[in-house]
């Protein structure tokens, strides 16, 4: 069975996780065997799906037949990755190495790469008609697409090359290098044989390269075939992140076919007519008028921003209206897409 994949990206706080769940519920209701991978869902969303706890293994969502859910577990994904690609002895050494933990915890591409590995596993399990992947917010989701390449670079010895000069040394050459006066000076500044430790660590890391490199290519391949949906609002930070997909991606992989503007206000609020209604006190009338004028200016702002975005990148945008309350059930999740048939169609 081939699995269709929707990758949902966007800055933190735009409602990406909620929309991912809404798409997944809709797909399951359309009869597709569906799995949604979420990143750190808010408590309320987990409640809406009726799930107690999520792991990185998909579990059925009781409230919605046909739907399973899993959560991204970066640490587990990294450990699995090391055991998959390294000799057992090297794997043990890496997993207890403080530099390795630092790299895994902090390198922005690391989290995104781990998410990619997990996505590939779920695709290759052939258990699903549709996989909905909610992505870590780092880099507005752009990292998800560039991470396999970046990981290849880092593991493949970019750092080692910088450290030692142009060519990739063997272990013995490496120790001759660290004996060089300049690096001796570096060690003196740093206060300890730190560089030697790091060089050894980088050598271990490099032994992952063959396996990881093949895997990274497989992930890139899956990403090329996935449908990319970018979620934004009209606020400056999410917009800036959404633009990066068009400005910074060198090739078309991940170039979104669909851009969703979430939390949109009704256009008709801009058509302010006089409030003629007998019996309404003047105070109420003026407060209501003042309020509508404020929000109408916000609607015009949203409109102008969308117009500019769609013209600049030649795109049709999908509006999702502002939802007054966070969804508390699978019905409410599916209901989020009622006024956005173009988006619901992606889950068909």
């Amino acid at each position: 069975m081939s699995t269709r994949v929707l990758v949902i990206t966007g800055a933190g706080g735009v409602g990406k996780t909620t929309l991912s769940a809404a798409l997944a519920v809709t797909a399951a209701r359309n009869g597709l065997r569906t799995c949604v991978i979420t990143v750190d869902p808010a408590r309320r969303l987990a409640d809406a799906l009726g799930i107690e706890s999520l792991t990185n293994h998909p579990g059925p969502v009781a409230a919605q037949p046909g739907l399973s859910a899993a959560m991204l577990d970066v640490t587990a994904a990294w450990d699995a990755m090391v055991y998959r690609h390294a000799d057992p002895e090297v794997a043990e050494r890496l997993l207890t190495n403080p530099f390795f933990r630092a790299l895994a915890d902090r390198f922005p591409a690391a989290q995104a790469y781990a998410a990619g590995e997990q996505m590939a596993e779920h695709i290759e399990s052939h258990r699903w008609d549709l996989l909905v992947v909610d992505t870590p917010p780092a880099g507005g989701g752009l990292d998800f697409y560039t991470a396999p390449g970046k990981m290849r670079e880092v593991i493949g010895g970019k750092l080692l090359k910088w450290l030692t000069g142009a060519s990739l040394p063997g272990r013995r050459t490496l120790f001759r290098m660290t004996a060089r006066p300049a690096l001796k000076l570096a060690d003196a500044v740093l206060g300890g044989p730190l560089l030697e430790e790091i060089a050894e660590f980088l050598m271990d890391l490099r032994s992952l390269y063959d396996g990881l490199s093949k895997r990274a290519r497989a992930i890139e391949n899956h990403l090329r075939q996935a449908e990319s949906i970018v979620v934004t609002t009209a606020e400056p930070t999410p917009l800036r992140e959404a633009r990066r997909f068009f400005e910074e991606l060198e090739n078309a992989t991940g170039r979104p076919g669909t851009v969703v503007f979430n939390k949109q206000l009704p256009q008709e609020w801009t058509e302010v007519k006089n409030l003629r209604s007998p019996g309404i006190p003047a105070g109420v009338r003026s407060a209501a008028r003042e309020n509508l004028i404020r929000w109408a200016s916000e609607v015009r702002l949203q409109h102008d921003i969308k117009q500019e975005f769609s013209t600049r990148y030649g795109l049709q945008l999908i509006n999702v209206p502002w939802a007054s309350e966070a969804p508390t059930s699978v019905d409410a999740l599916a209901g989020l897409l009622i006024h956005s048939p173009d988006l619901a169609a992606r889950a068909g």
Partner: protein
């Protein structure tokens, strides 16, 4: 030297820029330093992308952005006092590998810039558009991380001076920015707890941004409005504001700035916020 941080998207660059505009208007010599991401600070100051060299934005107001390689170079030459004659190319290369790999090095090099500017003393006020809350503590904690990692040597000595500067109540402070929403407030609360456990820097206060104004109508009055935009917009405001009130209760007292309706550019937002600062005592 004031660091301004908050969850991504709450408007910390806008607040940083507004403080800078306010202080410059009051005749202070102000420097804005964008620490991790510089587009926010640049757009709110209505200027081109920032570089490592301070650029004059207007009278009394300069701005710069920290980038890793320039910061590393400056750190080596000025902070560790590695002589120019030393083979700095190899050293820089070794340290840049270290900065990518070892915990704390990249952070200390980055946070080194504002601290260095503080020591240099060319400005009355340094405002740092700091990394978002998720990363803030790995920067503020970098000096002690280094002390754990490096037993002796120039970096360690420098790390200790730096952490003393950050902990000095008279010279360094942190402002947290939040909006009255669930996730920003929760992250702020977590940061406040962390600051109590690890007092790495003095907290100057919490600023709440994008607070909706009073509607001036009760829920019942809203329902007396005729069906249509007036009622819909009033309901929307009423609901959005009552959700905000719940989270406002959980934010410590501090300056509150209103939601700015319908303002198109980041520069206008910062100027408007600076005007509002001007109206405060």
């Amino acid at each position: 030297m004031t660091f301004v941080s908050g969850k991504g998207g709450v408007g910390k660059s806008a607040i940083t820029a507004s403080l800078a505009l306010r202080d410059a208007r009051r005749g202070k010599r102000v420097l804005v330093i964008a620490m991790s991401e510089s587009i926010g600070a640049a757009t709110h100051l209505a200027t081109e992308p920032l570089s490592y060299e301070p650029r004059r934005i207007r009278s009394g107001l300069d701005a710069l952005a920290v980038n890793k390689s320039d910061a590393l170079d400056e750190y080596l030459r000025l902070q560790l006092r590695v002589p120019r004659a030393a083979p700095t190319k190899v050293l820089t290369r070794a340290l840049s590998v270290l900065a990518e790999t070892a915990p704390g090095i990249r952070e200390i090099v980055t946070i080194g810039k504002p601290v260095y500017e503080l020591w240099r003393g060319a400005y009355d006020i340094i405002l740092v558009d700091a990394p978002p809350l998720g990363q803030l503590f790995s920067y503020l904690r970098a000096p002690s991380t280094i002390a754990d990692l490096v037993p002796a040597g120039a970096i360690r000595a420098q790390a200790e001076r730096m952490s003393a500067a950050l902990e000095d109540e008279g010279s360094a402070a942190l402002i947290l920015v939040t909006t009255p929403e669930e996730l920003p407030v929760r992250e702020t609360q977590m940061a406040l707890e962390q600051l109590e456990d690890e007092p790495v820097i003095r907290l100057a206060g919490v600023i709440t941004n994008r607070v909706l104004p009073e509607l001036g109508l009760t829920g019942e009055q809203v329902e007396t409005l005729p069906h249509g935009p007036y009622r819909a917009a009033a309901r929307h405001h009423h609901l959005a504001q009552s959700q905000q009130l719940r989270w406002l209760d959980e934010v410590p007292a501090g300056p509150r700035f209103p939601y700015l309706f319908g303002i198109h550019t980041a520069g206008e937002v910062a100027e408007k916020l600076a005007d509002l600062w001007g109206e405060r005592p």
